[in-house]
Amino acid sequence: MIQLFDAVFNGISTGAVLLLAALGLAIVFGLMGVINLAHGELMMLGAYTTYVVQNVSKSAGGIWFESYIFIAIIAAFLVAALVGFILEKGVIRYLYGRPLETLLATWGVSLILQQFVRSVSWILVIGICLFALLFWGAWWLISRRSDFERIKKLVLGIMFPLSVGISIATAFWLGQTYKLAVTKPWFGAQGVDVTAPKWLRGGVDLSGFQLPYARLFIIALTIICVIGIYLFLQRTTWGLKIRAVTQNRSMSASLGIPTQKVDALTFALGSGLAGIAGCAISLLGSVGPNTGQNYVIDTFMVVVVGGVGKLVGSIVAAIAIGTANYIIGSNTLGTLVGGVEPLAGIFKFFATTSMAKVLVFALIIAFLQVKPGGIFPQKGRTVDA
């Protein structure tokens, strides 16, 4: 009995992590059709935001440290949503309807974000800000001249190297003058330490079986996020607009729905959810530049198995994959069949973390052969629209 409860709880908690990570993707990939390979890096940004909030609240001490996680969730959502918004406005907007390009562009963005957190330091930030100020400032000033179109290329040719040069020179000078104080990376290539507040460490003891608080917290957070998304999509005007645009973009546009705004909002929402997921996984695992990569494949798997475009599919798929992973990996099946050979032997063979993953992948491929549309395929006219 205890074992069964154990399996169910651990399956759900593994699934909850997957679901939380996949929720944002289910919106971005499922509703918008954007394959966002930078999703993992948005999670990573959420995790780093948690780290920053933790450090600030640690110095405040006391009750602030004990409750920092709530502030971190909101901050992670906002930071990731902001980055997602910029990403949509700066890159993805130009690539709608061209999935292959989106794929490559977002992959590039993910590499940039990874390297950014590795090497971000004061001189880098100051350099980038200075460049942006000089270049875009000059651009803005000159663009008001009437003959701007004529001299555009010339301006670009002069201003770009000039701004780059000034920024690098300033950064170099700062590095020489202030040395370590400005050249030291904020985070560095090493992972950073996110420590859960005291009440999230340890767990509820149920005679020999312990439910970790962090897991319970993540399950609760996942439920809240799912309900929140459901209410947002079903009960609010913006949710209605998002659903309308998803179903038929041109008709929505002709009815006066600002589709570009809706796109940006949807993408920011999905990214924000990735930020929350990042905050949650920082309670369980490492926070480093590579954090996101460990999750991005699993999240795509969840969305594809669940059925693209269906939130409920992602929920069921996440729980199913999580449970399968746990039950196979922990050899629960092996103990259930007892000593019945060769069944027990087979289960034992797959009962290591690596082999469990292989088996789950194989099962997913087999499943997609039977139901290529996922658990809940879209039906009706929207399918091929």
């Binding site: 059709g33 292959l100 590499l111 290539a189 090493q190 330490d193 179903q247 309670l283």
Partner: protein, 444 residues
């Protein structure tokens, strides 16, 4: 636009996305970091001077290669080893260099991927014509570059404790062999903590070989292995392992941890949540040092153990200077650890060997290296004829501040034994490169 794209296309592109990301993850080769865009190193004169293409005046400089992962899952550990190596180079340069020449480091990024390591090793040897290479962390990367160094008869200095069972003429190992870390740790656990062991490791060569040794040793000394599991590098889902630990050790027992990299963080964070605490389940780690403790969070590790040759808290004059200089160069909040110390040692040992040989010519340096002693932060170490160094063995307990309290230390430096004496296949073998007839593996 969503409405222009059918569900089937989503699936195709989606799986293409998955495929590409797996593929790219496996073989991304971020641009070489020779020019040191990383701000930590840009201030150091040793590193900033040599972008790979530019010719270095061979008259007043000696080029050496530094080959570690600066990106990928191993960057967490290897970055600080690079820092230690550059500190040593800087100190040597400040003191006048080697043979009157300044050392110039060419830094390459192995990107946590074995093929990249091999490729970059070739580049360092063929294009940069370095005098020696300091590098690698995982055994996987060492095994990948080994054919390169043996084929080109070049020289690699390897700073990390490893599983042994190797003794190459082209490698100098300044980390611990199993008899200088793993075996004493198992002995100590048997004497102080219990006889039932659960082995957890990352899914690659070092943990697997190390666990083979541990199993053989336990069988010989009356201990028992109740379970064993491996996590792929970078994986963070450890729930199944926790369940297996609890099933195998219902009343507590020893967990021997050979996990590497990020997985450690997930492992310790989730163990604490599941109620696996050091009083009942002491964990002995062999890849968790001060750097990792800092990244995992001391709150999760307090009371657990690690076996190393060096801790930041070791009380020697040489260590005091080492820690002081390191903090001065990289910031007061940085810590030093065992692989960093081994990396620091090896740069000095190489320097001494070159000075003794009076040339950077490889064969002469190889010969001169044997017998070199160095007053290292951990104590006085000697390069043995089997290309490993004698080291002090220490076991530390993690304290609240993230540093280790040394609970056991060997009286003398322990001589290295690369071929393991517990494992049947290598029992009775030894290695001696000072004698041409004996070589890498001979029967005693």
């Amino acid at each position: 636009m969503a409405s222009n794209l059918s569900r089937r296309k989503f699936l195709i592109y989606g799986s293409a996305g998955l495929g590409t990301s797996i593929l790219l993850k496996a073989c991304t080769t971020p641009p070489s970091t020779t020019d040191n865009t990383s701000p930590t190193t840009s201030g150091s004169p040793a590193a900033s001077g040599s972008p790979s293409g530019s010719p270095v005046a061979s008259g007043d400089a000696i080029k050496v290669g530094i080959l570690h992962s600066l990106s990928g899952t191993m960057a967490i550990s290897e970055k600080s080893v690079v820092d230690a190596e550059q500190l040593a180079i800087e100190e040597i340069n400040a003191a006048g260099g080697v043979l009157g020449k300044q050392i110039v480091a060419v830094v390459e990024d192995g990107a946590s991927s074995a093929p990249t390591f091999a490729e970059k090793a070739k580049k360092l040897i063929d294009q940069d014509k370095v005098a020696t290479v300091f590098g690698c962390w995982t055994s996987l990367s060492r095994k990948a570059v080994l054919p390169v160094f043996e084929g080109k008869k070049h020289m690699l200095w390897y700073p990390v404790q490893y599983e042994g069972q190797e003794c190459s003429n082209n490698v100098f190992y300044t980390g611990a062999a199993p008899n200088q870390q793993i075996e004493p740790a198992v002995d100590w656990l048997l004497a102080n903590k219990g006889k039932e062991f659960f082995l957890v490791g990352s899914d690659y060569v070092f943990p697997k070989t190390a666990n083979t040794i541990i199993k053989a040793q336990l069988a010989a000394k009356g201990g028992k292995v109740v379970g064993e599991d491996y996590i792929p590098l970078g994986n963070t889902e450890v729930n199944p392992i926790i369940t297996k630990i609890k099933a195998a050790l219902p009343n507590g027992g020893v967990i021997f941890n050979t996990l590497n990299g990020d997985s450690n963080v997930a492992f310790f964070k989730q163990l604490q949540g599941a109620g696996i605490t050091p009083d009942k389940y002491p964990i002995m780690s062999v890849s968790v040092a001060e750097e990792e403790v800092k990244a995992i969070g001391p709150e999760y590790l307090k009371g657990h153990y690690a076996a190393w040759n060096y801790f930041q808290t070791v009380d020697t004059p040489a260590n005091k200077t080492f820690v002081e200089n390191f903090k001065k160069k990289y910031g007061a909040d940085r810590v030093t650890n065992d692989p960093m110390e081994a990396a620091y040692i090896m740069v000095y040992l190489w320097k001494q060997a070159v000075e003794k040989a009076k040339t950077t010519e490889l064969e002469a340096v190889r010969k001169a290296a044997i017998g070199q002693t160095f007053d290292a932060p951990e104590g006085k170490v000697t390069m043995d004829s089997n290309h490993h160094i004698s080291k002090f063995v220490r076991i530390g307990e993690v304290e609240e501040n993230g540093l280790f309290k040394v609970v056991y230390a060997s009286k003398d430096a322990v001589k290295p034994v690369p071929w393991n004496q517990y494992v049947a296949e290598t029992k009775g073998y030894a290695c001696d490169w000072s004698d041409a007839k004996k070589g890498g593996k001979y029967k005693v």
